[in-house]
Symmetry: D2
């Protein structure tokens, strides 16, 4: 038996989702919509994004379609038309309404969508309170999936809204900047080394995970080191000042084409003003924080920065091995900053693995060896997207803390910039 | 001096716009929005259309920019940002916000836009009540233009909203069908003849007209006849049944390409169901009325139908000559049907020249001989669009009655279908 | 009866096309291809253009399809596949090969296409020599149409080739500049006046004309004046220096959008070099001739120039009335310059109505009153294009002289620049 | 030290390229062009493909730019303009002519391009014969790279030409079918098992390899099996008959979208005729061979077929481990079939690893651990394309045999179909 490095910490037995848990997560979604109007909730800024209202409804559709319908004899859907409107991409349960047209639906109104949520919540809490439900682990498994799914949409709702607001020359403010952004001085980059060897990655233990985190399997690692913290805005400015966006030799070929086609000169949401670089945040335009992790950069930009740094992006297995022993703590959505924050000094290295910014890896998103999607429609959840995307790790300032874990795999295409995506560099040892 | 045919009827002296008149027209715009929500008002279905909220704001911007600003010393605009957001296409007063992005503005809210209207209304009524204003005919001329402009947007607001609602699989209902749609039996098509000769067209008399209706000038007409009423849905079905949409020999080359590219098989808003053809109306899907004027067809379709009928479309001068002596009465927006209605039998011929449907002519939209746009920014109102569009005449069931006259020239590109556009055929005599 | 102005000159009886005439025109087409290689003849620079080889074959297809097939019992086509490949747009005789793909046909080779031409020439000369043919005026009419058609393609072959060569950074030379370009000093612009009245335009007399030049009909003209010669390059430079391409108030709305989208800063084929403006010609890059008529401008540019000049474009009827009495002489393709030339001084005014550059008019291309396309497939020749294009008059330095006449109507869309298109301004009198 | 499986066979010392070797490979390129005309060589069927003439010139440009220029003092290029025209994508040596416009270059003529080749050949053979050159291993390394590069373009020249010919309704024949296509009966699929473990992949030994095959490095394999031969057309027909192209559950999400957008119903080049499925080959349309390996399928199709088969695609490391011990023999371009051929029965398993069809793997194309591109412009050769493409292995019936080896990595995007791409399935053991 080969030695296994980076084993995950022992976990507590996995609690099944309760009505309380259900209601807490559902309420968190709606709390995110408190600052916005029905008009804000109806618009769609681009085909990749969805209106907030659509997110609200789709998450309810998920419970209705995969929990209530199959579990409650004679269940009557809230509105038959919603089955088409709020199906995201599940071909096996019907024909999804075209994604680019989600922003053309002024009806159902936000009020009706909220009523839909109330209806689903009532049925769900009844179901969860029904004697015998607690024993139906298959059913509870889908409930848990539905809640994790809702948490994913909480983040998307925020990133899609930010993108929408940025299209508006008024630069709307979602809410005022929360006080208490850590502005502790940043220490220099250190390198966190790992000797390599055969290690296991993928989810283990009793807690929830998505299918794409399994099966847990062995990987062979060569000795490597991970940067102690994500790349900062001041480092990014040095890259820009050194002609980072103008030098083709730093870029993948498709990446440089994306630079050219998109007119990229800085991360998304940056704007140059007389007073210096400003960045669009949920509190409107703000000065770029020099020690903040750089954010809203694409895989292509992350890769070019790493090349410029004579480093590389980490592999997802490298990231996971180093993260496996760390507590899932950091600047998550619950902190209310909704923007990445400097790491400060002190504490255990590496810092900020969790929260602040999703970290691009050099790993194309694909199935783990032996991966099999679940049977049935829920098999469409992850598996069919395993091509032409890249793995990101660690969660962001818009991710619910309880949603994350070391084995969590997020994924986006190489040009995507509107998520809270940042960079941590790595290098080979020897 | 040659004989002049078709002289326009003598007109009453032209009343200058009063505060009352102003408030009446402004209120009419808002009344059209009574049935819709803020969400309905914010969305944009295609680049050619605008959100209802944008129409509401833009009309106020017009008064603020062209009346209040120039007339009131020290006038402070309601919000400086609106100058960019609500400028439609006036390059000489600034940089218009891009039209395809009008649907990305959740802010200003509908409520703020209504407050903007109240602000402008207050200033306008003050101005109109100011001693001396009544003598400033140049100023009152711009006020009148602003009101006519607002009436144009009343119709566009409706047609854009209808197009938006049609994108929604729920097929929303704007309001229930008003009772009283005339369903009198239709008589056969008759021909209204005209002997030709030199005639004058273009606006005359003291009333308001747009610059594009002038100068009044001479035209040489050959003997012709105009159909007694617009083409009906049952006639259109005969065209369809005869392969109208499949026979290239009936079409202009670009027209047949539009048929192919757009998958046209029937007028816009028609849907084939088991029970027969249905049409989307402001009251949702309704059976196609056989005796109703066909509506929502493009110039290309109108032209193909005319060719199939061994007829042609009328020239705008022919239409105007026959309409010049007729009363401007018919199925206008005030009737509340918001849908074309059968002509019924009896009465003077030709029927339905005014109201029901705009009638495509064979006249490309261009300047009248000697045409000069006004000096200044308002010169951009009409003149710069005089290419690659076609003249329509007569107004529709969505046009305010007081807005129309025989010399009125509407214009749209040859593929446009979302206006209330129909067909009246003509033919040469001899 | 009203006075008729501008009557066309009496014409000689119309000679029927003979084998000699046929062979002369066919040979002229091939002579244009003498300087080019099979490779040059195979390529297509844009969907609007065709490879030279395609032009060569299509003109033969025309004779085969509309003359040989219907006239010779048991005629066997040269190659059945050509019926699809070389059909331009005649839906009623089959399915045309898609225009944008004409440049994907390396086979048939140029050699095979030439063989095809020889085959058709043999059959055609046999047919024309057959006793009785000379009496078949319907047949000879189609032969004549085929020859006129071939002449149209002679010009297109040249303009398409010029456009292709310009895509090549080598800036290939079609042939060296012919000596003898008139460089006589230019006199100032004079105005050629016309008192207006009722006049007749459209073809008259025994000679050939296209269907779109008929029926001859009456037009009412107001007094006007036409410039004595086309706008020159030095005048165009003054327009450019005065911000002509940057000032939206000079442009139609669609025109200014075309300027922006196409990055237009000067006429097509102009390039700014250290030594001044150069222009691409059939003899490669050459200095822009200050007194040459400006060429390769769109309708939009012509219209903006006219507005800048406080003038307007002529109506096609105005042009024709003034041209009706003039001899069809000028810088045509036979002169071999293949580029517009200064008018020089002296001689009768207006100068250069014929040859040099096609002159944009303000007339949208449409049917004359009472126009009827011919029965059958040849009815597709002109009629189906009568929308969204503009009439040009007078022919160019790439037009065969014998092809032109005062009533000739050419037509192109408002953004087209690759033809030899120029500008003559006009103005209202009074 | 862990056991190493699948070690590559010992190789002979690596011979340096001689003038003879150079001339042989250059001549092979030109031999491929023997059946085609200058017209065939000039056309480009799509932006991803290049004209044959461009391939011919670009390969010479490579030697001129990277060998002759740097090595010969005072070397004068054949034509300065070629430096721009025939640069494919090397940003560091200049500005490449845009790829989509390569088909707009009728000049330089094929004849001139051949003269360019002769010029480069003369200089190259002089250089290789110069005393001292044999000792300059750096120089000879670039010569070798240039020859391998030329071999890559030999295959691309064929696949691009095939694609061009297929756009032509005449379905041109490149050359008649060579006799001797093996049509031996096919045996059933067997599985070639491997026990897994730590193995090394990547090039080893003295022979040439591309930078992307290095560094040789360790991989951890789980037990797996590879199919004994590639998927055949009859198997593919079973997939099609089972609704393979209509069932979204078999496809990656982007793959099913590609099916829909491209109207895919069968492999590229297949056409359904009354007599059954035909396929376009270099000898024109031919019946689909049931036992032939399926060809011209995309990664998406390969993946869907594997899923339908309850199998998966192999990883590139799995493929390489099994191939490492096999002789590089098979149906390569030298055999002259230019089309995949049945494996027949008998012989060592797995069959047809080399030749016939490139085999899609499930491995996204990326850098090997520790990969570094070469310094200088040649660092652009491979590294900058390591994103959003997929690895293919084994060579095809259009690949030169001497060009291939077990560690060879080809790569194309997931929708590409115009290469000779096929499928071998794999599965996990246990």
């Amino acid at each position: 038996m080969e030695p296994l490095l980076g084993e995950a910490r022992p976990q507590a037995p996995h609690p099944l989702p309760t009505a309380q848990c259900y209601l807490t997560i559902r309420a968190a979604t709606e709390a995110l919509c408190a600052p916005i109007s029905a008009e804000d909730a109806a618009l769609q800024s681009m085909p990749d994004a969805s209106p907030a209202k659509w997110h609200l409804a789709h998450c309810s559709w998920f419970f209705e379609t995969f929990v209530l319908g199959p579990s409650i004899p004679g269940y009557r859907v809230f509105c038959p038309a919603y089955h088409h409107l709020y199906n995201s991409y599940y071909q096996s349960v019907g024909s999804p309404f075209p994604r680019p047209q989600r922003g053309l639906l002024s009806r159902p109104s936000l009020e009706e969508v909220v009523a839909y949520r109330r209806h689903v919540d009532g049925c769900m809490t009844d179901l969860l309170a029904t004697p015998g439900t607690a024993e139906r682990s298959d059913l509870l498994g889908v409930v848990e999936l539905g809640l994790q799914h809702e948490q994913q949409h909480q983040e998307l709702l925020l990133t899609d809204l930010k993108h929408l607001f940025f299209q508006n020359p008024l630069r709307p403010c979602y809410r005022a900047e929360a006080p208490g952004r850590a502005l502790a001085p940043l220490t220099d980059r250190a390198w966190c080394e790992h000797p390599g060897g055969i290690a296991r990655i993928g989810h283990t233990g009793p807690g929830f995970c998505f299918d794409n985190e399994q099966p847990r399997h062995r990987r062979l690692l060569e000795p490597f080191a991970l940067a102690s913290h994500p790349v900062t805005n001041s480092e990014w400015m040095a890259f820009m000042a050194d002609g980072g966006y103008e030098r083709p030799e730093l870029w993948l070929s498709d990446g440089f084409e994306a630079v050219r086609a998109g007119g990229w000169r800085a991360p998304l949401y940056w704007e140059r003003e007389a007073s210096g670089w400003q960045v669009f945040t949920f509190a409107g335009m703000q000065p770029v924080g020099l020690d903040d992790p750089v954010c809203h950069v694409s895989l292509f930009e992350a890769d070019a920065f790493a090349r410029w740094s004579r480093a590389r992006l980490p592999g997802e297995e490298e990231w996971e091995i180093l993260a496996a022993g760390a507590a899932v703590e950091g600047n998550f959505v619950e902190r209310g900053l909704l923007r990445p924050s400097p790491s400060g000094a002190g504490g255990k290295l590496p810092r900020q693995l969790f929260g602040d910014v999703w970290e691009w890896t050099r790993s194309p998103y694909g199935p783990y060896p032996g991966y099999r999607p679940p049977e049935g429609a829920l098999g469409e959840y992850n598996g069919k997207f395993m091509a032409n995307q890249w793995v990101l790790r660690g969660g962001s300032c818009a991710t619910p803390q309880g949603h994350l874990r070391a084995s969590y795999r997020n994924f986006f295409p190489s040009s995507a910039r509107w998520q809270f995506t940042g960079v941590r560099i790595a290098r080979d040892l020897r």
